[in-house]
């Protein structure tokens, strides 16, 4: 580089090249002229760094900027609201016969969604059914998640014979057709909301366990785990405080889909008449209406729509969380 060129870069010749100092005060141009000066890798690094902030507010922000996820969140909020206000609007038993049967939706303003073959209010059933569906979905997922993470974390972190043993246990559950197992368990136990929840948790934990095990196996080899050991941390502390926060994103994403799966399983059980006979659920409403599908299709369609949209919203949230938390977007884990 000659001395004149150097002068140019220092801005002595004025007009042709802007010096970095003056450029700083300019608003950021969309297409910066000084591409060569700002190393491209440094720019990539900043954007990566922003995406990698493992901060709940950032995740929330990313979620809100995703229209699909917002749709999901809004609809899920409506379902939760329905579950919360159901006992206020319809304090009575939703299984009680309140009007003449086969009122079509809109026929009688007192029963906006009509009545079924026994004269039960469909809207009351759907609102109360949201309670059951959400309870089963959330509690079964919470149970399955807790147990699955515990087993998977133990297997993945310790390895060796503990891993072998736990993987065999997981495989035993995975070789059985899960829905058949669910039907058998519910048929043996009394079909109540809590036994159904427990049964669903029992058939879903192996998925979580496998996922958690894979994550823990990768992360336990990381340098920061060795560093944590060099600080005298015990196994429990390393598992729960050091590795688990790193393993959470894929687990959170899976859990939103698990809630949807649990709701579907409960509906399927109720549809087959294996649900809790004392509570109304979306599945049992469909099951009761299925023989009348040609004359009164709304009896199956309305609770069906409720299931479809709830499951869809949970899947949308799962997708959104996947984008917001996905390890591919974090630079290094």
């Amino acid at each position: 580089m000659t001395s004149t060129e150097l002068n140019d870069y220092a801005g002595h010749s004025g007009t042709r090249v802007r010096s970095p100092a003056t450029e700083k005060h300019q608003p950021e141009p969309l297409n910066p002229q000084w591409n060569n000066v700002r190393a491209p890798d440094s720019r990539v690094k900043t954007s990566n760094a922003l995406a990698a902030v493992p901060n709940k507010w950032r995740v929330l922000k990313a979620l809100i900027h995703n229209p699909n996820a917002v749709c999901g969140l809004v609809f899920l909020a409506l379902v939760i609201l329905a579950a919360l206000i159901a006992p206020l609007i319809y304090p009575g038993d939703p299984l009680a016969m309140v009007a003449r049967p086969f009122l079509w939706p809109g026929q009688n303003p007192a029963y906006p969604l009509g009545t079924d073959s026994m004269g039960r209010d469909v809207l009351a059933g759907i609102l109360h059914g949201a309670r059951v569906s959400l309870f089963v979905g959330l509690v079964a997922t919470a149970l399955g998640l807790t147990f699955g993470v515990l087993v998977g974390a133990t297997a993945g972190y310790f390895g060796g014979w503990i891993d072998d043993l736990l993987v065999r246990l997981i495989e035993i559950f995975q070789t059985m057709p899960s829905f058949v197992l669910l039907v058998v368990m519910v048929a043996i136990a009394q079909p109540t909301a809590s036994t159904i929840t427990l049964a669903i948790a029992i058939i879903t934990w192996p998925t979580v366990a496998r996922l958690a095990r894979a994550e823990f196996r990768t992360i336990r080899e990381k340098d920061f785990v060795m560093a944590a050991r060099s600080l005298g941390y015990g196994h429990a502390r390393i598992i729960f405080l050091e590795i688990l926060p790193n393993a959470l994103p894929p687990i959170i994403v899976t859990s939103s889909v698990m809630v949807a799966g649990a709701i579907l399983m409960e509906s399927a059980l109720s549809f087959m008449g294996l649900g809790d006979p004392n509570v109304v659920s979306w599945g049992s409403m469909i099951g009761a209406g299925r023989e009348l599908i040609r004359t009164a299709w709304y009896l199956t369609a309305l609770p069906g729509i409720a299931i479809v949209f709830t499951v869809l919203s949970l899947n949308l949230i799962g997708d959104g969380l996947n984008d917001a938390l996905n390890p591919r977007f974090t630079q290094e884990r």
């Binding site: 005298g232 926060p245 974090t330």
Partner: protein, 331 residues
Amino acid sequence: MALPLLRVDNLSIRFPTTEPVSNLSFLVNEKETLAIVGESGSGKSLTALALMRLLPRSAKPSGQIVFAGQDLLKLEERRMRQLRGKDIGMIFQEPMTSLNPVLTIGRQITEVLQLHERLPAKAARSRAIELLDLVRIPDPQRRIDDYPHQLSGGMRQRVMIAIAVACRPRLLIADEPTTALDVTIQAQVLDLLDKLRRDLSMAVLLITHDLGVVAQWADNVVVMYAGRKVEEALPEPLFAHPLHPYTRGLLAASPRLKNNYHYKDGPLTEIPGSIVSAAGEKGCSFRPRCTVAHDSCANAVPDLFVPAANRLVACPYHASFAEEANVALVN
């Protein structure tokens, strides 16, 4: 002299098929820096892990590691955990990956304080800010809530140092602490380590392959080759008159020790060959690469000779090098 803080006696680390460290002995005195030098694969890092009892499960260490009067290899795991991070701190090579990426640095410093010193959360946080200040992180009140990826490599290594010295350990093991950093930062980090060593009166075990680092910061040097100690000396005599052929080769291959060396002056001398596994090797493990090897070198592992005070060398022909050096000195 008082008892040494750390005495390693005939430490061997055996894997099912190999023995990457054999019969290694050295001492670390209170408040002094011992440097262990050697090329990659010479067993330096395994030695460090053995001191912390963090070797992989398949490794079987034998010998004695006596730290402050207790044999670490015989200590029960619970006691060992209390020692790690409290009495012995360790810094790793890679500051980029040695910090937990999803926790703030403040959280990572306070955690060790709460574990070992049972400090309440508030006190731990103010200690953490002091520590960040001690390792010269600018604006520690603000930086304490940063995540590791928001810091540069040098700053991350300083955070690692802050975590390692948080509980004022008596021994700090630094396993190639500056390898991943660029040269200007290296000097800062090593200066910091040296300052902390004096301020907190700890001993430092510095593991490195950088002879420049050794010359500047070590009180005592152990040169390792293929899992064995080949030479031990104070830095000045070591650099002035290296006695083992390996050390001589290392120094000859090091550009910064020659005056005004420039690549146009011709290639640097190198040690022919590469480090070989000590397994199954009879005799001196350096023999295949040694320029002065005798037939007898193949028979047995050479004993450690004591050519002068504070000096050990594992080569029976060291006297000839000493002579050479004297001749050079006279000339």
